[in-house]
């Protein structure tokens, strides 16, 4: 079953401050994602990978096309099976979808400095109504699986290294077990050992109920986790291939 259908998605930025220039982020991108699939997005720097994820999460307002999402049909007001067009639904619907089913990690973690790592990770669970101690327990489990030293669990991520923050980021995105998970370079700052821990965790968490669209640079990671690979080039979809056909190609 198709859980996400991206149809002719475009994003153009109108830069009023730079003499009204236009920057093309995405140009007429179309692909489908099947339920439970792990889709890797690759491409050179500036090819539109982050723009794609941000359009799906609606941090960017798409300027053209549709993003039909079937992961929350119970929240849709049309006929069952029509899905929700993430490119067109209103802000309140987006908030409801984010709360209930869509997770996202950016390359950067912006949390209030005084919140301990374990609470950052537990927060989405708390917001779903999970009791504080259960949520913190789940958070500790995730942080330990990602090899974050126990001494850091109660410390503030503001002081963490890039790789430590990235693990907090990833754990936070995984904790509520979203239906659709959007990951922007979740392993880029990790050393090989920690990266392996992250891969193991992703493979385990991402089962039938979770669909992932993730930007990755590392071929080994892609081979270990992805089912298919979307290749972007200069804002356009170059091709979508099964991971077996992607093997051996050089990324970005």
């Amino acid at each position: 079953m198709t859980v996400l259908s991206v149809e002719g998605l475009s994003k153009t930025f109108d830069m009023h401050v730079l003499g009204d220039t236009q920057v093309v982020g995405l140009d007429d991108v179309s692909f489908d994602v099947r339920e439970g699939e792990f889709l890797a997005v690759v491409g050179e720097s500036g090819s539109g990978k982050s723009s794609l994820l941000k359009c799906l999460y609606r941090t960017y307002d798409p300027t053209g096309g549709r993003i039909v999402y079937h992961g929350a049909d119970e929240l849709a007001d049309g006929d069952a099976g029509d899905g929700i067009d993430l490119a067109a639904c209103d802000d309140r619907e987006v908030i409801a979808l984010r709360d209930a089913t869509i997770g996202y990690t950016s390359q950067f973690l912006d949390e209030i400095p005084r919140v301990p790592a374990v609470d950052v990770v537990a927060r989405p669970l708390r917001e779903q109504g999970v009791p504080a101690e259960d949520a913190r327990g789940e958070a500790r489990e995730l942080l330990s699986r990602l090899d974050l030293p126990e001494a850091l669990w109660e410390a503030y991520p503001a002081t963490f290294s890039g790789g430590e923050r990235q693990r907090v980021n990833l754990a936070q995105a995984l904790s509520p077990r979203p239906t659709l998970l959007l990951l922007d370079e979740p392993t880029s700052a990790l050393d090989p050992e920690t990266r392996q821990a992250a891969i193991d965790l992703l493979r385990e968490y991402v089962g039938e109920d979770t669909t992932v669209v993730g930007v990755f640079h590392n071929t080994a990671v892609i081979e270990a986790v992805a089912d298919r690979v979307v290749v972007l080039d200069d804002g356009k979809l170059q091709r979508v291939v099964p991971v077996a056909d992607f093997e051996g190609e050089v990324v970005g």
Partner: protein, 276 residues
């Protein structure tokens, strides 16, 4: 559920003329009418707030944020000419037109305002506890024991040392005074809190703690909030959706992350770029 629904809110300082609206705003580049000299502090502002939601209002100094926020909090400024409609869940009609008593009840119970100035709304000679208790008393609380217990609870929730409860508010630090304002605002379990520049006058490290505390309490209680700030970081941390104001008008609105990362309006782009 929509809690508050505001339409066409306007605050004008001065006598006004029939050209004020055309001659002010974003395109005119000013909030002062060149024909009559009146200041159109805010106009044509429409917004809604849902139960439990946080709405941010950003804009440079003088853009009309406080004027708009005061209308939402049903605060009347005798110097201003105001217009517009504020509808509120569970109440009939336009709240801007209600009689004195109804307005007083709404402001004691349903809608609370935390003022921009750190000491506004606080009596520095009262104890910190007394300032919070006053709000309870005006809502009809009478038992001394109950009031003490509730004040203690509010001190704990807003992270003010309970052992300072009986000290004069004037002996509190800026951060503690801000917390007393917030404790007071939360005293009667309002459905909506309007916070005007919650970090003004606080050190950066104190700011972070006050915001963190407010965010926690806001979520735990499920209270809706309107957060006004010239500081994008404050709104980014707290608000689900954000309005951008300039020259007395709302020029852009949307999901907070969208407004910050994909600003559409020229002014918002300038504002964001000047921070990054």
């Amino acid at each position: 559920m929509t809690l508050l629904d505001a339409e066409g809110l306007r605050t004008v300082y001065g006598d006004g003329c029939d050209r004020c609206l055309d001659a002010t705003g974003d395109r005119a580049g000013t909030n002062q009418c060149p024909h009559c000299g009146s200041v159109v502090a805010c106009a044509e502002a429409d917004l809604t707030v849902r139960a439990g939601e946080v709405l941010g209002i950003v804009g440079e100094s003088g853009s009309g944020k406080s004027s708009l926020a005061e209308q939402l909090a049903l605060e009347r400024d005798p110097d201003a000419e105001t217009d517009g409609v504020v509808r509120y869940a569970g109440h009939e009609g336009n709240l801007l037109d209600v009689d004195y008593e109804t307005r007083h009840d709404l402001r004691t119970g349903d809608i609370a305002l935390v003022h921009q100035h750190i000491r506004d709304g606080l009596n520095p000679e009262f104890t910190g506890g007394g300032n919070v208790a006053e709000k309870l008393l005006s809502a009809g609380w009478r038992s001394f024991e109950d009031v003490r217990a509730r004040v203690r609870e509010l001190f704990e929730a807003t992270e003010i040392p309970v052992d300072r409860m009986d000290d004069p508010t004037s002996t509190y630090s800026g951060g503690m005074q801000r917390r007393v304002q917030i404790a007071r605002a939360l005293a009667n379990d309002p459905e909506l809190v309007v916070l005007d520049e919650p970090t003004t006058g606080l050190d950066v490290s104190v700011q972070a703690r006050v915001l963190d505390m407010f965010r926690r309490v806001q979520r735990e209680k499920g209270v809706a909030a309107v957060v006004v700030s010239h500081d994008l970081g404050v709104v980014r941390l707290l608000a689900d959706r954000t309005l951008v104001m300039r020259h007395g008008r709302v020029v852009e609105s949307g999901l907070t992350d969208r407004v910050m990362e994909d600003p559409h309006h020229e002014y918002t782009q300038t504002l964001i770029n000047s921070v990054i």
